[in-house]
Symmetry: C2
Subunit: 169 residues, 2 copies
């Protein structure tokens, strides 16, 4: 099965400045649809990279051969008394969806979070129409711990709920 | 009653650079206890003011005569598809607690949020031991829409839950 083959070929490593072009390409494609992230679809390259590589973020890429297929950023969700809880964002190149790249990155991310000393992970803004992501997060042990009523204006579905998802590590 | 007198004397206006000293004094006093905000109790003046006056924030002060007794910052909680939901943070000088300053600022804030076109307000991180705040927010129409298990390390009570609170405007 190509699915398994691809995932096995996938390697994940910390992102460097040389990955900026590839990350920006994925980032732009992902946010351009405006239905999975509360990020301006017209965000500039500079702002996107500043967000994805924000101070104290751990940013990784997933690649097969030399082709970058996905990226994720892991960070502290809150400072000080909240700093044991991590947060992460994941993006997969749209053409590569359904090949297990998101799951492979998420499993890597959970391990990295543990390694960095985090004891929990929180997703602050999981849009309820993003069924693929919700199924994946539930499958990886996350629970919906909050529902933000109508907190996202979906480009075609109107105002939809948003979930806060959480798991201990 | 001094309570009512004080509240009636309270006026609220947008903060200016000349208020920075007073705001920093309140900010520092509030975060120094480390039990109500997930903010480093040793945060620098520069970082504190950068946070409180972050781009696109609407920052106000409450004063009686020329004495600044409280401050709040109102902003968009999320960009783009989430930008109809506002977020706000409130700080009252510790010596002035219990005089209704928080409530007066919050009512002002809800009106400002409506005026600015927001249709909801969300508090992302209400620490469950902060009973005074929770009672006030409930009284002002906010509901607990999420519970983040053990998401705050309280300086004396250990890991405690954190609430996400929300109301439509």
């Amino acid at each position: 099965m190509s699915y398994n083959l691809n995932v096995q070929q996938l390697s994940i490593r910390p992102a460097t400045e040389r990955d900026h072009d590839a990350i920006w390409k994925i980032f732009q494609a992902v946010v351009s649809t405006g239905d999975t992230y509360a990020i301006d679809p017209d965000i500039s390259r500079e702002d996107a990279l500043a967000y994805w590589f924000a101070p104290k973020s751990h940013t990784y890429i997933a690649e097969a051969g030399r082709k970058i297929l996905g990226t994720y950023a892991l960070r502290t969700n809150r400072a000080s008394g909240g700093s044991h809880v991590s947060n992460a964002g994941f993006m997969v190149a749209p053409a590569e969806h359904g090949r297990g790249i998101g799951r492979t990155m998420a499993e890597h991310c959970l391990n990295e979070a543990r390694r960095l000393g985090f004891t929990a992970m929180q997703f602050n803004f999981v849009i309820s129409t993003n069924e693929h992501a919700i199924r994946l997060w539930k499958n990886l042990g996350f629970a919906i711990v909050g529902t933000l009523p109508g907190a996202f204006r979906h480009p075609t579905k109107g105002f939809v709920d948003v979930y806060v998802m959480f798991r201990q590590l």
